[in-house]
Symmetry: C2
Subunit: 136 residues, 2 copies
Amino acid sequence: MKLMSRQEALEKLLSVAVGRVLFNHHGLPGIRFVNHILDDGQIIIRGHGNHIATLISTDNTRLIGYETAEIDPATLTGWSVTVTGPAELVTDPRKLAGYRAALPPWADGEQTQIVSIRPQLVAGYEISRNSLSETA
Amino acid sequence: MKLMSRQEALEKLLSVAVGRVLFNHHGLPGIRFVNHILDDGQIIIRGHGNHIATLISTDNTRLIGYETAEIDPATLTGWSVTVTGPAELVTDPRKLAGYRAALPPWADGEQTQIVSIRPQLVAGYEISRNSLSETA
């Protein structure tokens, strides 16, 4: 397993369109799919359903994780990037309009809110056949 | 978003070879790739690195999550199944040998331990163009 620099990790994250929001829900680990863009250093996400929005609304200091990855199940190689930081609902109407235009809605067209995450911790790793170092 | 039954969800989980272990680490959500099989109702996983094993060793009652999914970023459709339950290290030498034979090691060949998860909660959902119900 080879660790990435913060810069490498954010570039990998931007190379894919969807990721997973990770959160704690009554002490249990939760996960939900979203799509994302990066704006002014913040990760801007749009999920389906209102689950994430509800969680964030009830706790403004909530730290959430955001994971993107590409793993090939056939070769068991790939990469994963996880960002952790405080999240908040986007409420500015001008920003909301821009983000909604940039982030396509999910196929079932459910009403969604937009959330921004400030990437405090950025951790990325790669698994390849020629990895030489163990860093877990 | 359409919810699956427990049986449907476990069948979906078994239709893919890799998933993500979800855990809380000092209050932060963590995630790590693993591959899996099902044996006697337990989800048996093999990860790279020793991170998960270390977490479980220090807390035998730890509840962890296990997520598998197939999402098409082009159409924003797909499915996700998350299992939550208590996890423990597999230490029985006979079982270990069988599981190691059934679960290929990750490409970088790091030493790994085998973990079993008892699926207490099983939650699955599908996102398709013709979903009519909102269940988030």
